[in-house]
């Protein structure tokens, strides 16, 4: 039972399938609109939000522009505080480190904190192949894992499931994995959360080893940071004897003080809260408190490829808040699965080709999964200019196909993107975007995409302007 994105069809095909799924579309529209509204409220409270974004971007840029020195410093400070530092060039190396640690301790299970990077490297499958069960402990990840499917959103990975489906999954599957769901389990979210609490508590209390990612890794102090809501992160980071954290090399923050703007930006951009319920930080081993054996795996897996791209480098600033997903008209329609990666939405459309390189049809279709409306840039707390990188990557894709005699992939991709967007009227796209959305869709429909490097001509009111005016709310569309 392995669940990976390997072998996913290119974006247009996958998007067509997703568009046919009305439940998914309904859940997505509801979820993205709700989070957008919350985010707008808490961002408006911060008068100097734009300055804060600039500071957040500058901190991550500073870390990236001196990454070699920062990594060496991080290794030193972690080691000085009792952590064991490992380096992994790719997914296989990182997985091997985690499996080796598990084997050395003779464990047959590990508890896991929600972590995109361990999904990226397929860690659960690698552990499974070594006979070690990996228990996801984030509620949404648990739903996804028990349901045997794939996450569809960075922040709310089970956004494609409704409460009745979740109850059914819990009733059918919890017993195989441990403590069964109560026989009379209702589909009330509080009851479902309580069932997850009871099911997972058993695992937390007995687990000897945990695996986490990290939101940030502070170079000068050797501090790792995990930002979460449910407390499952705290459980994993505190109770087991052994902790292994897999950390992408782009997670580095130069100094402890520079963590500040990022901690202000992330919760407001992500869940639309002033602060998330729990943030844990730790620097190596604390005698008598928490895991007494701490490992950190510093992972490349394509990040140095992205770093070498002068335009694309900025994508490594990403703090995985998911704000760009929630404002994206394409994502809202097709959901996360269509992107064929753990990194969906606008950031996925640039990050995947940057990490993997162009040349594969699935990856090559991603930079076209966008209308270049610019809403993602406006929402991004670290000011990643996603449209700029998309255009840059499209030109790379085109350059890679100069010699082809069959139709260029971008031509196919564009026809399909046009199809996706031109379904708009039926999806309420027209009302929501007034004339602009239709204009964009019509332009795509006309297939006058002779140069992949041209931005569409300016419509009557740009999506961005409309967004600024209404924040995507229907009731405000009259201005």
């Amino acid at each position: 039972m392995t669940h990976t994105f390997v072998g996913m069809p290119p974006f247009p095909t996958a998007a067509r399938e997703a568009l046919a799924d009305t439940q998914l579309r309904h859940n997505l529209v509801h979820a993205t609109a709700t989070i957008r509204g919350k985010r707008a409220g808490v961002v408006a409270e911060v008068e100097n939000w734009e300055e804060l974004r600039l500071a957040g971007a500058a901190v991550k840029d500073r870390a990236l522009r001196g990454l070699d020195e920062r990594l060496v410093q991080l290794e030193e400070s972690l080691t000085a505080r009792g952590a064991v530092v490992h380096w992994a060039r790719d997914a296989a190396e990182a997985n091997r480190v985690v499996v080796d640690v598990a084997r050395r301790h003779g464990v047959d299970e590990v508890v896991k904190v929600k972590s995109m990077v361990t999904q990226e490297i397929g860690l659960n499958e690698a552990l499974q192949a070594a006979g070690i069960a990996a228990w996801e402990t984030d509620l949404a990840e648990l739903i996804v894992q028990l349901g045997g499917d794939l996450p569809s959103h960075i922040l709310v990975p089970a956004i494609h499931r409704n409460r009745a489906e979740i109850r059914d999954i819990f009733r059918r599957r919890m017993a195989e994995a441990g403590r069964p769901a109560p026989a009379d389990l209702s589909d009330d979210p509080a009851a479902l959360a309580a069932a997850a609490r009871a099911h997972l508590r058993e695992k937390f209390l007995r687990a000897r080893m945990a695996v986490s990612g990290a939101n940030f890794a502070v170079a000068d102090t050797g501090t790792l940071v995990v930002v979460e809501s449910e407390g499952n992160g705290r459980m994993c980071l505190t109770l087991p004897d052994v902790l292994v954290s897999v950390v992408g090399i782009e997670k580095v923050v130069p100094t402890w003080a520079e963590l500040d703007p990022l901690l202000r930006l992330l919760p407001r951009s992500s869940t639309g809260e002033r602060m998330n319920p729990y943030t844990s930080t730790w620097s190596g081993v604390t005698p008598g408190d928490g895991p007494q054996e701490v490992h950190v795996v510093l992972l490349d897996n394509g990040r140095t490829r992205a770093l070498a791209d002068d335009v694309g480098r900025q994508a490594l600033r990403c703090i995985r808040c998911s704000a760009c997903l929630n404002v994206c008209p394409v994502y809202e329609r097709v959901g996360g699965h269509a992107y064929g990666s753990v990194y969906p939405g606008p950031i996925g459309a640039i990050l995947n080709p940057l990490l993997k390189g162009t040349g594969d049809p699935q990856t090559d279709s991603l930079p076209y999964a966008s209308s270049l409306c610019g809403a993602c840039f406006e929402a991004c707390p670290v000011r990643i200019d996603i449209p700029e990188v998309l255009v840059h990557l499209r030109s790379k894709v085109v350059d890679g196909h100069r010699e082809d005699r069959v139709p260029k992939p971008e031509a196919i991709a564009m026809r399909s993107a046009a199809w996706t967007l031109s379904r708009g009227p039926r999806l309420g796209f027209a009302e929501r975007l007034t004339g602009t959305g239709l204009g964009v869709a019509r332009r795509f429909g006309a297939a006058r995409w002779t140069s992949a490097r041209d931005l569409p001509a300016a419509p009557r009111e740009s999506f961005r302007a409309w967004w600024r005016r209404t924040d995507g709310r229907l009731d405000d569309s009259g201005g």
Binding site: A31, T34, A55, A58, R62, R65, G66, L67, D68, E69, L71, V84, H86, W87, A88, T137, D138, I143, V156, P157, A158, P189, A190, A193, R201, L205, S229, E230, G231, N232, R234, M235, D241, I249, A257, E258, L259, D260, P261, L263, R264, P267, E273, R274, M275, P277, Y278, S280, T281, T286, G288, D289, G290, Q292, E293, H295, L298, D300, L307, A308
Partner: protein
């Protein structure tokens, strides 16, 4: 447990080629890029006129309980925050006035997770509190206890002294020591994973009870 020193030696040996190659790739990716030497100065945080009032308002927004007390009333109000018959744990360094309020409490001396799971509530102090975000930060000093102590029991009663309340995140980052493990707590644990309905209380304490002690003079 395998001695960490041995593990480290073995592992670093094994990943040395990976280390050198990654650092080499980073260096060639950054050829011609000048590193920025100066740390980034972030803009100031929000500063409410009345920090304690703002803190209390923001904590309450998370659906945590928050009460204000004069110093003389703290013990009473700690006792009142605990259901009768509750099994209570306290950290070894809890100040005497608070300890007196929970006479029957177990003092943590390294209780196992299973033992903590049998306990209903924990009473602690904190290191700093953030007004703008309604956050309590624990640095797990002796008046707050090990991380597990404030995690496993279902009810957390936390005493915040008014002078511990700072304006916003940058003020907290400035006073916190990153060498200590830190736990930032903003309300009870919560999830919105099911149809985005917020449910308070998943794995961490389902009840957070904050007692703000107003200082006189």
């Amino acid at each position: 447990m395998t001695p960490v020193v041995e593990v480290r030696r073995a592992q670093r040996g094994a990943s040395k080629p990976a280390r050198d190659e990654i650092l080499g790739r980073v260096r060639s990716a950054l050829a011609g890029v000048e590193p920025d030497r100066e740390p980034v100065a972030a803009p100031p945080g929000v500063r409410a006129a009345d920090l304690v009032a703002r803190f209390a308002e923001r904590v309450a927004d998370y659906r945590a309980t928050v009460v204000h007390r004069a110093p003389g009333d703290v013990a009473v109000s700690v006792a009142a925050a605990l259901p009768s018959g509750a099994r209570v744990v306290v950290p070894p360094g809890l100040p005497d006035d608070l300890r007196a309020a929970v006479a029957g409490a177990v003092v943590d001396d390294g209780l196992s997770a299973a033992e903590l799971d049998e306990i209903d509530a924990v009473v602690t102090c904190c290191r700093v509190a953030i007004a703008e975000t309604g956050t309590i930060v624990l640095d797990h000093a002796p008046d707050q206890g090990r991380r597990a102590v404030t995690l496993v029991p279902d009810r957390h009663v936390c005493v915040v002294r008014a002078h511990q309340v700072v304006a916003d995140v940058p003020d907290a980052v400035a006073v916190l020591d990153p060498e200590r493990p830190l736990t930032w707590i903003s309300g009870p644990s919560a999830t919105s994973d099911i149809e985005l309905d917020r449910v308070e209380g998943v794995h961490g304490p389902r009840v957070l009870h904050v007692i703000v002690v107003e200082e006189t003079g």
